[in-house]
């Protein structure tokens, strides 16, 4: 599954950007029609992050609703699938949102659990 490769890419991108510092939280944005199974990304994340700056980090996934605009009548609507027709019957729809696959932000610091462990 390509989700494993994408998860590795997320971890490598954030770890590279963090430049050697620990990361305890990553916020990922995934459109509902991005072609990515978010469950699979969440499932892979812990294992992929192990041994990197992101080990133990929390992955927060924010879904983005897919919206489209009909090229025939101009109406905007929520797309359940890539081929959901407009109410006017047209399948010619321009995608506005829903294809996002972006790391929005990350938070510097050791994972919460590890920090608590040190405090106790």
């Amino acid at each position: 599954m390509h989700e494993l490769g994408l998860t590795r890419e997320i971890v490598a991108m954030v770890a590279g950007h963090a430049g050697g510092r620990r990361v305890r939280r990553v916020v990922l944005e995934v459109g509902t029609l991005a072609g990515v199974m978010t469950d699979a990304v969440a499932f892979c994340f812990d294992a992929v992050a192990e041994g990197t700056a992101l080990e133990g980090a929390v992955l927060e996934i924010r879904r983005v609703e897919a919206r489209g605009r009909c090229r025939r009548c101009g109406a905007e609507f929520v797309r359940e699938t890539l081929h959901s027709p407009c109410a006017c019957g047209s399948f010619d729809v321009e995608g506005l949102t829903g294809a996002e696959l972006r790391v929005l932000s990350y938070e510097i610091g050791a994972p919460e659990a590890a920090a608590e462990g040190q405090g106790a």
Binding site: R8, E9, H17, I108, G109
Partner: protein
């Protein structure tokens, strides 16, 4: 993947130039100028992500939230853009063929090389998880070919194409045909730098293929409905199949072909010729930002 840093740099991918005698070259870390593999944490780990790494000079306290806003596919997209500029500089038309396993991509390419090889200088990049079988078939058909084996990878990525192009060295105004790994899912996400994706679907696969894999069909400029010679033997509703394709991708061209009998392939060759003409005309336009902007740019696409 690079085990040390977790980056996916295609370390298990092999690239074999079948035309130059078939010596397999281990892939992976031969692109050191771009990807600095010194994993000393004190040193900066350089990636081609296209973002700055401001932390080199700033010391941020724990709890700081760093805004990144970067596409997970950014690295691939950048390398794909570089491939595209490289193709455009040489006025090369590059097509990326995608399908389910066994839809007939290699058979189509073999026949295309044999029948239209005089019209176009075809060069082929073959992608499979394992074996050079398809590459050997292409070589036998008479075109220069480089085989990429992705190992466990289920799709081709732009950096593999950049490395394959270094081996293939396609000339000015040639046509590069990429046969992607048989898979209708992730090749849709990974831009290789092609001018168009061509989706091949065979009539033995069911009428609703386009509905099941809409990403792939929506990304295609041309859909080839293959194996139409089998229609008399099947209970296959061709009109329903075509209607489903039209529903998912209203603007794509659709052609019905048989790669084994040759039926309908004239229209496919004409499509390639028309694409070549349009692409070369675009590349020839001076002073524009699209194809041709980097005309003759000598930079190798090698990552």
């Amino acid at each position: 993947m690079c085990e040390t840093c977790g980056c996916s740099d295609g370390a298990r991918t092999t690239i074999t130039n079948l035309t130059a005698g078939g010596a397999a070259r281990a892939g992976g870390h031969d692109h050191a100028p771009v990807h600095d593999h010194v994993h000393d944490p004190a040193r900066h780990h350089r990636h081609e992500h296209g973002h700055d790494h401001p932390h080199d000079h700033v010391h941020l306290p724990d709890g700081t939230v760093v805004e990144l806003q970067e596409s997970v596919l950014a690295k691939n997209d950048q390398l794909a853009a570089r491939n595209r500029a490289w193709f455009d500089g040489r006025e090369i038309l590059c097509l990326n063929l995608v399908s389910s396993p066994g839809a007939g991509k290699t058979t189509l390419l073999e026949r295309t090389i044999r029948e239209a090889g005089a019209r176009h200088r075809f060069h082929v990049i073959e992608g499979d998880q394992a074996t050079a079988n398809d590459g050997e078939r292409i070589r036998a058909a008479g075109a220069p070919v480089v085989q990429i084996n992705t190992g466990t990878g289920c799709h081709l990525e732009a950096d593999m194409i950049a490395r394959a192009l270094g081996e293939l060295a396609p000339p000015f105004r040639s046509v590069v045909l990429i046969e992607n790994v048989g898979n209708l899912v992730c090749p849709a996400l990974f831009d290789l730098g092609e001018r168009s994706k061509v989706a091949v679907v065979s009539v033995t696969e069911g009428e609703d293929k386009a509905l099941k894999y809409p990403h792939m069909f929506q990304a295609a400029d041309l859909v080839l409905v293959n194996k139409i010679d089998l229609l008399p033997h099947l209970r296959f509703d061709l009109d329903a199949c075509l209607a489903n394709i039209r529903m998912v991708t209203p603007h794509a061209d659709v052609l019905q072909v048989s790669a084994t009998t040759g039926a309908g392939l004239g229209a496919w060759y004409d499509w390639i010729a028309a694409r070549c003409a349009v692409h070369q005309a675009l590349c020839d336009l001076p002073d524009r930002d699209g194809p041709g902007a980097r005309r003759g740019g000598g930079e190798k696409p090698t990552a």
